[in-house]
Amino acid sequence: MVDVLSTDISRRALLGGLAAGLAVNGAGVGSATGQPRAGGRIRIASTNSSTADTLDPAKGSTATDYIRHYMLYSGLTQFDGQLRGRPGLADRMVTQDNIVWNIRLRRGVHFHNGKPLTVEDVIFSLLRHRDPAAGSKVKTVADQFASARRAGPLELQLRLTGPNPDLPAILAVSHFLIVENGRRDFSKANGTGPYIAHEFAPGIRTIVRKNPNYWKPGRPYLDEIELIAIPDEISRVNALLSGDVQMVNAVGPGSVKRVRATSTHSVMEIPSGLFTNLIMRRDNPVTANPDFVLAMKYLQDRELIKRALFRGFATIANDQPISPIDPNFNPNIPQRPLDPDRAKFLLKRSGLLGVRLPVYAAPVANGSIDMGSVLQEHAAQIGLKLAINRVPSDGYWATHWMKHPMTFGNTNQRPTTDMMFSLFFQSKALTNETGWNHPRFDRLLLEARSTTDAALRKEIYGEMQLVVHQHGGLAIPAFISLLDGYDRRLKGMFPIPLGGFMGYNFAEYAWWDA
């Protein structure tokens, strides 16, 4: 039996995380260098909050929710810089077949109200997601939890419906944070996290204070954190520069220079797997034509999109969804270039050069309107007329996304390669964006899950990336970097590619150097 959270992996992972942090912050500012100091009070601003803000981890739906939940609760595992699951409330996770998992809990952990953490709390926290009435955002993921039973005072056995080697990473997602056994009323928060809720006003603010009995000795460092949201980007950056908040996420690429020009603030670039993609549906005769699809891929001006839309804060992508930061990334697929001649040849061969097709884009799909314009320009040069239909962000996902032959989608970094593929590419997936059906891809996906050898799994994932690159009905021009702005006195952080604010989990790492 192998403990997948073993210290060896953890140490390497941690070092990897630190190295990435140093590389991003050349001067070492904001990185995990120096001796952390206790104390200090900060205010941070995320992008949106509303009356839907919640204290229930299962219902979290915005960055603001995820940050709040990571401050108040702890998970069985925690992400490192490479999105691997490291020990959290579980100090050991053992499996032989990736189906039956034996999980041992850390000793001496207490909830904020003083109640000790028990196996029953964990079983309840995991299985509650399967109940439709719980309204969990990860119900489809939790449906693979076949059963969980107590195996000792601090041990439990979790049985899955099928093999899944990524369980340690999945359990680090904020939705699976551990709550009290039987808790259904989330008007108050009672977790085991680094901070205790002091004030929670949905849509206005969350104030948390240091948990003196946190299970990681010496942590957290800050006395108090106030979390607010400033939806307007200019206001958010202004609030940072005027000292009203000490950290913000989603800094616009255009504001980076302005922030970096100060001596007091800086921006952390977090390369991530976030992308905006052109979706070509298989249920329309035009966009199902392989020549047409390939032509659209050859019409992507990836260099221009990276340079002009994202000011260089992006990584060129290759029409498949696994980014270079993913350990399973396949670097051996040749990069598809911008090749209008080839596109024209393909379109002529398909006989579709004369079609007039609308492409739907909305501001909510990050950069999609400009990507559409770039595409339209290149298409016009070879005689293909595309209309870009700019539609409102409000209701875009429900009414337009995947509902027309050509729409833009926008997908966040997912914690595991498997999640990305099974959510958006498996033929029976609910959000199979292009509506494709590729039996071999589906077979490979299942094969990867039941493979215990990580190297072999990486090989399978590599092949799946090639399949999507060649046959997938989507064009992905670039992976977009996340940009966090912060006060230089705020230290101890390194990027976790899942999202801004260290994959939303900065609170127990950050310290104030004043």
Partner: protein, 326 residues
């Protein structure tokens, strides 16, 4: 006016005001119906918005049933209408809290901001309006005209952004976002509100000032002013004793419009200063399709507007003997 005719005059005014209140209630009813219908046309509903992109159809259907959204629209409207008449705005679909609780958290914020802005802008507007009317055609008047016209033309978001860049980012005098601590000292309170109030006041002062000027000038051309002048009434006494009371009708009307603008049009200021007021709450309710919350916000905005107009009309009626007799 003679003592004998006074009661009948008041009765006439009372009847007129009563009619206005009746009309206001009808307007509120129509507005609620229109909002209910229009928001029903928006794509998606609260259940879809709450569950997000990855929800299964079964999950959406279950939540829809729980929220009562699977019943026909007229039934839902009638039910809402029944409870609002009884004084209960219902339960928020998204926040799982009574709408009244959510509103009671935000309404005082909006009222504070609007009241402060009114308090600052009304005296300034009078000052500017009177000064430029009295010096009509002279340098002062022309100067004020150019100033107020450009203030009216400047969009609020521009004024706000420039103010933030100067006072918050460069000079570091004032906060760029409005966060009022729980029990603020006067200094904290003033610092927090200084910029949003200033930005809101810019537009109101200019607009109201111009209308006051126009109203006073209209009176200054009347024969009774000429007569007063000939009788040797000084300029100050002329404006404050003779002209202002006669011009008060149109001025109060203009004030009502400007103030309702302050109350409802604060959305840009709320966005830029991240101020948790009613306008941003209403935008929130639209995007999350939270119908009861949306309706409640709309009713408050509409009722405030109608109330201000009603007050203006009442003042105009009471100030004008001819209207009183209708």
């Amino acid at each position: 006016m003679s003592a004998a005719s006074t009661p009948s005059l008041w009765r006439g005014a009372g009847r007129l005001i009563g009619k206005r209140i009746g009309l206001a209630l009808v307007t509120l009813l129509l507005v609620s119906a229109v909002i209910f219908t229009i928001s029903g046309l928006l794509p998606g509903d609260a259940a879809q918005e709450v569950l997000g992109q990855g929800a299964t159809p079964e999950q959406v259907a279950a939540l829809r049933h729980e929220m009562g959204l699977d019943r026909p629209a007229p039934v839902r409207y009638a039910e809402w209408l029944g409870s609002i008449v009884a004084g209960d705005p219902g339960q928020s679909l998204v926040a799982n809290k009574p709408v009244a609780d959510i509103i009671s958290e935000r309404l005082p914020n909006t009222l504070t901001l609007a009241a402060l802005a009114a308090l600052v802008s009304v005296p300034f507007a009078f000052l500017i309006g009177i000064a430029s009317a009295v010096s009509r055609g002279r340098k002062l008047d022309r100067g004020i005209n150019v100033l107020t016209l450009s203030m009216v033309a400047l969009p609020e978001f521009l004024v706000a952004t420039i103010a933030v860049l100067i006072f918050a980012v460069e000079l570091l005098w004032l906060p760029s976002i409005t966060i009022v601590p729980k029990d603020p000292t006067f200094a904290q309170f003033a610092r927090a509100y200084a910029m949003p109030v200033m930005v809101l006041a810019v537009g109101v002062v200019a607009q109201l000032g111009r209308m006051i000027r126009a109203a006073i000038i209209a009176e200054l051309d009347r024969p009774y002013v000429e007569m007063a002048r000939l009788k040797g009434v000084g300029p100050q006494r002329l404006v404050f004793r003779h002209v202002l009371p006669n011009a008060i009708g149109p001025i109060v009307n203009a004030m009502a419009l400007s103030l309702s603008n302050l109350f409802g049009g604060a959305i840009i200021v709320e966005t830029i200063f991240n101020y948790p007021g009613l306008a941003s709450l209403m935008v929130n309710a639209v995007t999350s399709r939270d119908m009861p919350l949306l309706q409640a916000c709309a009713m408050i905005f509409c009722a405030t507007y109608l109330l201000l107009v009603l007050i203006a009309d009442t003042v105009a009626i009471l100030a004008n003997p001819r209207l009183r007799q209708v």
